[in-house]
């Protein structure tokens, strides 16, 4: 008995579509780090040092590091409801005081996962 002939139907995306998806996923995700500091804050310079030391091992293009001096821009602190300094904000979460590098890495990882999830949806 001859083998019945079926039309082949593929549920996999075409080669071109697959390539586009891979390209999209590999696009570098930029993680934004904000440090809120003030001129009067004695802990803030150390917090800034810890952040710079933590991210220097990574590709510089992965991060966008912004320092907000609340003494000069109190409106920015008010907008985000941040009044204890130093405060580091990464991807919608924040930590107050001089952060430990491990905690910063966790926050960075969390922000990266959230961004990727958001991009996939």
């Amino acid at each position: 008995m001859p083998f019945p002939r079926f039309r082949s139907i593929s549920f996999l995306p075409k080669k071109r579509e697959r390539a586009a998806k891979v390209e999209e996923a590999e696009e570098p995700t930029i993680i934004e780090i904000f440090l809120f500091k003030s001129d009067a804050c004695v802990f803030c310079p150390r917090a800034e040092e810890v952040i710079r030391e933590t991210i220097e091992d990574f590709d510089a293009s992965v991060f966008k590091f912004t320092v907000i001096n609340v003494t000069e821009s109190p409106e920015a602190a008010e907008k985000y409801g941040i009044f204890a300094l130093p405060t580091v904000m990464i991807g919608g979460v924040s930590i107050t005081g001089i952060p430990e590098p491990e905690m910063l890495l966790k926050m960075i990882l969390g922000a990266k996962v959230t961004k990727k999830k958001g991009a996939a949806e």
Partner: protein, 248 residues
């Protein structure tokens, strides 16, 4: 006795100024303490409203608990249109309430911080409006927001001093927990302030409660040492200086 007189800031709250030699000493920090529902926020906001409308003194309200739109709505009930004062540049409402949409989620805290951010936010509005009155409502929320109580205590001393140096009279509200006998959650509230006013809403029978007010301390003033009747009327808080509350 010296003839030196302390400059007074009239509260504008009917009956209260009579208990405190005409008003709060200018530039002082006054604590308004009381259990939930005793009228602390109303009294503090009324102080700002009357300052702006009767005494030409602008004010800054820092809300750490209740969102501004609810404060505006609730004060309208007493005929106090805060939005109008804001538009006229006589009042600033600083929203630091947890309901603020863009506030990041706090994942932790290290005991190496200060409140210089709060100071910068408040002084920015004080300078902008040339404000003479500041209210922080409520101090107690800070105890739930931060774990490092020792730091908070020290930082509050610095903050109060800084607002006072800017020429403002500061009112802090403090919620006394239900079964507590102190003046708030920090145990140092009374030391922060040079004046303490306590509000009560005591049950006097199975079917009724009685509101009252007590001036517990007011440095540099000869104040009443009795507990006086107080009511929340359609026009806000009113104190009856000649009426001693039946609950005490």
């Amino acid at each position: 006795m010296s003839e030196f007189t302390i400059e007074r800031v009239k509260t504008g709250i009917p009956g209260l100024d009579e208990l405190i030699e005409g008003g709060f000493p200018r530039g002082d920090t006054i604590l308004i303490a009381g259990k939930a529902g005793t009228g602390k926020s109303i009294l503090a906001i009324q102080f700002l409203f009357k300052g702006a409308t009767l005494y030409n003194e602008s004010g800054v309200l820092v809300t750490l608990e209740e969102p501004p739109h609810l404060i505006r709505r609730n004060m309208l009930r007493f005929g106090m249109d805060l939005a109008q004062l804001e538009r006229a540049g006589r009042l600033a409402i600083v929203d630091l309430s947890p309901s603020k949409e863009v506030t990041p989620v706090t994942v932790g805290e290290y005991p190496s911080f200060d409140l210089s951010g709060l100071e910068a936010i408040i002084l920015n509005h004080v300078k902008r409006l040339n404000a003479k009155r500041v209210v922080i409502d409520t101090l107690s929320i800070m105890a739930y927001k931060f774990r490092s109580r020792d730091i908070l205590r020290e930082e509050f001393f610095k903050l109060c001093a800084s607002i006072s140096r800017a020429g403002c009279t500061l009112l802090l509200t403090s919620e006394i927990p239900a079964q507590d006998t102190g003046l708030g959650v920090f145990d140092i509230e009374a030391f922060l302030a040079s004046g303490v006013i306590v509000l009560y809403n005591e049950k006097i029978s199975d079917t009724s409660r009685s509101r009252s007010i007590e001036v517990l301390k007011l440095r540099g003033s000869k104040h009443s040492s009795r507990i006086h009747s107080m009511r929340i009327t359609d026009e806000g808080i009113r104190v009856w200086p000649g009426e001693i509350t039946p609950g005490h």
